[in-house]
Point group: C2
Chain length 662, copies 2
């Protein structure tokens, strides 16, 4: 090869030839709001650097109409022509040399999420682009941004400059939260409920019995854990902004302080938590929050997306309020209701503990009979909100010891009491400790839970199924169309279903007979254990639907305990490229995805109308949604706040398959 | 159909027609020893019931030669004819009516393990059956029986009748053990080593730091755990009789007693543990133990088996003495050397703990440099014993917290000290507690261990690889043929190998250069994570061998934590038929087996000469060995005591495939 260097020689134009010259930059539409109007600034008698450097005060572009009306008209026409040519909003640079307009550059302009959506919808309405293209032009992340309160970027910059940045962690659940700091769930809940405070709950990490405090909080901050730690998962599920694993922060629970970089906050101090960036600031920063129902452009765009997608979008919702939000966001069903969250509520937990510690079947049944009306009430609200749409309710999943106090704490307490010769209440504590010890497991994730628990102790799920069908019947009698689907978790062998499912189906029939009403229902299973995926052909003989629990399926397929992995090595793996992505955020196509594809294909070979969904957190991840589209899922189910994102991502997957670009 | 009842009418013969009549039962060979001689008894002037009922004293069959010589001769001829016709030892009944012999029945006779082997070998030598048939006639369980000390069945029956049965549990490791009871590993070891006692170690369950006590004990008894609990696995590995999960026994560690059914034993009391039946007796019962090298018939049979099998049989051995035993039993290689057992030894554990708690890389390296000579010494012994055969050494696998004290115990201790205002040594304990807490994991089985630990903290495995290659080089320089194979555990993504393996291969080359010698070696991986099996094609690009860690692979594929599952629901699952077999004992063909088959086929597609083995406990299970034969393994590796069983089972798998029956 004998390549030389090419040199383009062009005549330079000058904007600084006097007051009939000038220079400027402009967007063909407002890059912040998307409004259809030229947006930018210019300077007379100046060169480009003067505009960019900010040393002289620029004039808004519209004033050019007064300064040089004929140049303005020509500029408007050219801007319009460029936009039509490139079929997108343009970012242009220009110079005026002695009243003659020269265009220096044009390129597609960067824009905010809000502008991206408005521009896409407007351009489609103007006939400039197709609806399909409009749908492809907005990223799911842009939609996400619009669904959470935000801090203004300028204000954050200023806060950093003023040294108000307290800590940084993993951006676990997007949105901005401002509140007063409390270091335990009970106090957080009390301050929120009784004092009406906005609360930021700060903990080293969270456990299921912290959920009541998390639900009462505006924001969550932890020093340990990663993007799929308990705190992160719960926060995203309920749309609570959260920063987790802020490891430069040291929490002193005894003195109720948290310290980072030598600065300490105390209980009651104000913090501003940016769950979208992982930043945490001292004090109160202002937020903005656009309401979904007021975002008409987004609603239009999503309605177009709905026309193009093949995947349905369902939501994971445990309470009627979540289900309502999900439905408002466009969910077409509930893909996962976790029944155990309800067990942790204040008035129920003692009954649940009584049930667990029961020494006879009668005692256990008595406790369960007390829980039945609570569960029925929970489900009635869900069926009411989801009138006409399917609701998948998962039977109890966690191990029973999650409902009892922590072993180490209790053992320590007992040891202290003994060392101090305190006898009051000791006997009860010792008895409880023995129960906790006897239920203790080395690896609870892979222990006595889900269907395993149901087979050994069927009374709990029998109560739950009765509650589900009584609730459904009651709503049906009031005129609602109910479609309950009962989901049995943690199945690894078809025989587990063969043992438990007929037993529960009998209860379903009994209740319908008692109530004198019939309605559609299904019994199915989660596919969250590798063996279930490997033997899906057999499992589909019994299960009427599959729902991929991709969190657990990823844990088992990789042999990763999520919390342990993210705390110790997983983030290193992602950073160093050993793993291309965090498999708890985006489905690992080669491993987990391969199992899913096998399960879908082989399950449908047995039962062609098998309903297939996904209720793991991946259901709200655009890349994973695209995988589910290709794998042949019927739906994805995600947290309510991600339903709009999933609607868009599902449409984009379908459009990409057809070769349509943005 | 019009089926009637058929009635056969035959003339009855009478053995009670006088002293020239009689009746008897006999085996054509001795069913207890296998000796080729008629064995049985008879009575003159009697009917069949008289012989069977035991109301009259019978005469040994040989006396018939005196009582009625011509009948005896005829009987001998008929017995011989029957044996030749049926080509097996016969159990016959006869009656003599007035000196005329009538044969009433013949059937293949039941026999002891010892007799089964002798009869099979003798009949093949006599030309009555082929060697192939002889190999098919002996069950692997019969071989197993001959490799462990035994209690006499009669003596056990008598002991039960006398109320000497103390407890029953899971028959975790076969063999009979008699010894004095001690309730902790240190005492058990001291009593065995210093006092020369035969010891039975009794614990609620065992942990890795109990291993030194277990190794010193004659037998092990636990009140918790199942057939694949730590106690059971270690016991089988070292051929120590064990009964685990004897849940009717309550251990009081404080008072050092164990109570079952109201009866209590104290430290120093004698127990007799039957690991083959799960029974535990008070006091000392006599045992019998046939030595392998004296069992010439078994040795002959196994040599025939070796001619027929395609699968090689390797052994899992951590110490030279185990490797020696394995080689004596016919092992063709070491499939698994666990390097971490060596870390628990008394003089090494403090160094290991110093290495773990090191705050700087220098401190860690210093501790590792102290460990290097120990590890090199361990490996030198192995290479010496295994001269000419491959030795697979697995790099460190367990999480580091296994080498530190238990969290609950330590937290309790600290709490007590604080409650009592004890300050001496408190600071050190608190510091240690913080380290233990920081390493604590929710599900350690799926946490920071294996290759994950090696990637984050490569110094340990670098030391290990150096130790392996220095040891191999030293032995090679002494004239031995060494074939080290380095096994990297817990791989789930090929990139893990791509990061760590070249780093270790460099050390291997360095050492060979330093020592000025070259020898064959391999680097490979365990396939014990579902994702590794699912992506075997990629992993085989880097790994030169696969070894299925079927214990972990079963855990992950089923989502079962072994100890938790066996303690809580797995045995119920097997009893009620939800699972056809315990998948930790016999490979689950549909799930785990499917993954293995995929991994072998796809791994060999990438690397046709890929060496494939199995080093999980299934390697010693005959049914699993048959599966491995069909799946295409090169070898199975099992505990030394199961090598003879595996040799037979591998031959039987090959013969069955050819349609040969026993």
């Amino acid at each position: 090869h004998d390549l030389g260097t090419a040199v383009n020689i062009v005549t330079m134009v000058f904007g600084n030839m006097g007051w009939d010259s000038g220079t400027g930059v402009a967007f063909t539409r407002n890059p912040s709001t998307g409004e259809k109007a030229l947006y930018g600034d210019y300077l007379l008698n100046a060169q480009g650097e003067d505009v960019v450097a900010g040393i002289r005060n620029t004039k808004p572009i519209k004033e050019l109409a007064h300064d040089m009306p004929e140049v303005w008209e020509e500029f408007v026409a050219i801007a319009d022509k460029l936009e039509r040519h490139y079929r997108d909003m343009q970012d242009v640079e220009f110079t005026i040399e002695r009243r003659k307009l020269w265009m220096l550059q044009t390129r597609t302009g960067k824009r905010t999420a809000r502008a991206a959506i408005k521009i896409a919808v407007d351009m489609a309405n103007e006939g400039l682009i197709s609806k399909e293209e409009a749908v492809m032009r907005v990223t799911p992340e842009q939609v996400d941004t619009l669904l959470h309160p935000q801090f203004d970027e300028e204000i954050k910059k200023q806060a950093v400059a003023e040294g108000k940045l307290f800590a940084k962690g993993v951006n676990a659940s997007p949105g901005a939260a401002v509140g007063q700091v409390y270091f335990d769930a009970d106090t957080a809940e009390r301050m929120a409920k009784e004092e009406g405070q906005d609360v930021i709950m700060v903990r080293p990490f969270t456990r299921p019995d912290d959920v009541h405090g998390m639900l009462a909080a505006k924001g969550i901050l932890t020093s340990e854990g990663g993007a799929t730690s308990h705190a992160a998962v719960v926060a995203r599920q309920f749309g609570i902004p959260a920063v987790v694993g802020a490891s430069d922060m040291v929490i002193d629970l005894e003195n109720r302080t948290a310290t980072a970089h030598g600065l300490t906050i105390h209980e009651g101090d104000w913090l501003s938590v940016d769950g979208g960036s992982g930043e945490v600031f001292f004090g109160q920063m202002p937020t903005t929050f656009p309401k979904f129902e007021e975002q008409t452009d987004l609603i239009t765009l999503l309605s177009w997306a709905d026309e193009f997608r093949r995947l349905e979008v369902w939501a994971n919702a445990d309470y009627p309020a979540d289900a309502k939000r999900a439905r408002d966001f466009g969910a077409q069903g509930i893909g996962l209701t976790r029944t155990e969250h309800m067990f942790f509520e204040e008035e129920r937990l003692p009954i649940v503990q009584r049930m667990i510690l029961a020494e006879t079947s009668e005692e256990r049944t008595a406790a369960l009979n007390e829980l039945l009306p609570f569960q029925r009430g929970d489900f009635e609200g869900l069926f009411e909100v989801m009138d006409g749409l399917p609701v998948i309710i998962r039977l109890i999943d966690p191990p029973l010891h999650e409902f009892l106090p922590d072993l180490v704490e209790l053992a320590t307490e007992v040891a202290e009491m003994r060392a101090r010769d305190e006898t009051e209440g000791l006997a009860e504590k010792v008895e409880l400790l023995q129960a906790v010890e006897s239920l203790h497991e080395s690896n609870p994730m892979m222990g006595m839970r889900g269907v395993r628990l149901s087979i050994v102790m069927p009374e709990i799920v029998e109560m739950q199924v009765r509650a589900i069908f009584e609730a459904a019947a009651n709503q049906a009698l009031k005129g609602a169309t109910v479609k309950p689907e009962v989901m049995i978790p943690l199945v690894s062998h078809v025989n587990e279903l063969k043992v438990i499912q007929p037993r529960l189906q009998r209860i379903a029939k009994e209740v319908m007979e008692e109530k004198g009403i019939e309605f559609e229902y299904k019994f199915g299973t989660m596919i969250e254990i590798p063996r279930a995926a490997l033997t899906a052909a057999e499992i589909a003989e019994v299960a009427e639907f599959f729902s991929f629990g991709t969190n657990d399926l990823t844990q088992m397929t990789f042999g990763y305990s999520r919390d342990d992995a993210e705390a110790r090595f997983l983030l290193t793996y992602v950073e160093t490229g050993i793993l291309p992505k965090n498999p708890f955020q985006t489905i690992d196509v080669d491993g987990v995805g391969r199992l899913m594809k096998m399960a879908i294909d082989e399950g449908r070979a047995t039962r062609p109308d098998l309903e297939v969904g996904i209720c793991g957190e991946h259901g709200g991840d655009p890349e994973s949604i695209e995988f589910c589209h290709h794998a042949g899922n019927n739906y994805v189910s995600c947290s309510p706040f991600r339903v709009p994102i999933a609607r868009l991502a599902a449409a984009q997957a379908a459009l990409k398959e057809k070769g349509i670009k943005g």
